[in-house]
Amino acid sequence: MSGIKVVFWKELADYLGSRKFLILFAIILISAISIVYILSQNIGKYSSEISKDYIFINLFTLSLGALPSFIFFVSFFGPLIGIIFGFDAINSERSKGTMSTVLSQPIYRDALINGKFLAGLATISIMLICIILIILGLELGILGIVPNLEEIWRIIIFFIASVIYIGFWMSMGILFSIIFRQTTTSALVSVMMWIFFAFFVLMISSVIADQVVPLNQNSTLEIIVKNENIKNMIMHISPVVLFQEIIIALLNPSARAFGITALIKGNNLLPTPLPLSQSLLVIWPQFVGLLALMLICFAASYIIFMRQEIRST
């Protein structure tokens, strides 16, 4: 256990001090602050869109014309941060020649990968806590409203979901850093996966759905629903989609369903906000799916790393 602790503290210091991290952190912080600031300034214009009970968290999800919402920033930049932490975790140790030195010290081999993974999660948590607290402070100062207890709980769960989401991208990066010997290869493959999950999955899912259940002008509702279900099924392999649904339900309490169900039933439903427990029920599958994706990636990295040969060259 002591080995994990030593690796953890060293990696944490490395991450927090690294330039690439500081630059990304600054970008996200500045954009998040400016979004919230502009929204708070123009809050009057949105009074119709905001539910009065949840002004505080609604600000996270509102988008102002060309300016995207805060959650868009998290779901967009989150993967980049995760990838930056993960993509060179193991292969840089290999190419620098530090791995055999470290592993010849009296620690178990998994201490290295566990320590790195935990340090990455800790860094992500620290960063998110900073950003969320700064935004909260800003809203408190500008709007003069205090979040209610339920909003605080929703923000805490949003934080946990974000850590898992970014953690998924990090463990995917670590996995590629173990598989590929070159840091450039692992970085490129990670970014490609990100583009695939963020953009191409949506296209591919509708192409496949249309192939399996072709739609035409005379299609019955039944067939449309079937088509839509297949599309949804494929889309949900993407952590980006899972995460977006989680934060929509969390930060916009009136959301109660996604996809075709929301379209069909949505108009007949009263726009009353759901209590937290009901929102959690809505996102439970997505939440578990996201966690599973992260753990699968980490488990794969762990197994491959433990079986790999340690050669200095």
Binding site: S2, G3, V6, V7, K10, D14, K96, G97, T98, S100, T101, V102, L103, S104, Q105, P106, I107, Y108, E309, I310, R311, S312, T313
Partner: protein, 282 residues
Amino acid sequence: MKTVVLEAKNLTKVYNHTKVVDNINLQIQEGEIFGFLGPNGAGKTTTILIALGLTEPTSGEISIFGYNSTREPLKVKKITSYLPENVGFYEDLTAQENLKYITRLNGIPEKKADAKIEEVLKNVGLQDVAQVEVGKYSKGMKQRLGMAVVLVKEPKLAILDEPTTGIDPKGVEEILELIVRMSREQNITVLLSSHLLYQVQKICTKIGIISQGRIVVQGTIEEIGKNLLKEEKEDSLEIKVANKLTPTLVKSIKQIDGVVGVKKKSPDHSLEEIYIKYFRGE
């Protein structure tokens, strides 16, 4: 009877159907500087990695101070230092920080570690650049830092894999001197893997030669030499003369009983001797 530090029994390692290490038996005793010789790809590094528990043998076993390397790797790694062939460091950390990481991984208490780090940095002559980032070090300095990493955990056995590759002759001298010193002063047994025979001959008390995964021969250099060169019965003696070699002198030497031949040799200095003479002062 001296304690056996490292013992390999019928050690075999198969990679993709080729025997990289083939039934190796090896014994190293306390206090020895054991030269592990062989061409590149002969299986030296693989044997070392198995000894450290970083690779599992296909069959056979290796033990260090009685601890089985495969089953008790932590105990083995606690008392064994390893200098890998292409040693690397965290380049954005200083030498002192790099060593600190090693002492922490070894669970050495902070106070003791600080004193020890200072001591070994002094030992390898890096005390003035202890606070400089390792990225700015020369290859020779890095190799000396590698020796500091070896020493800082106070090992009983030091395994050095090609410790002198890629550095200048003066650096090589310093490293070799350091190895001899640590072996004598701190009673550290040394396993030195190399393909540079000259250096090995200079410092090693015993050698083992490995070729295509097999130990071809092991023992002290004299023993092996005697066995190998049995055919050459004549001993020879080198004589230095004050001024010039005169024919009369040659003649009188020839007349001594038992002398079978006199051969004139011009003084030949190896390039290494010349190089070291000029750079000693630096």
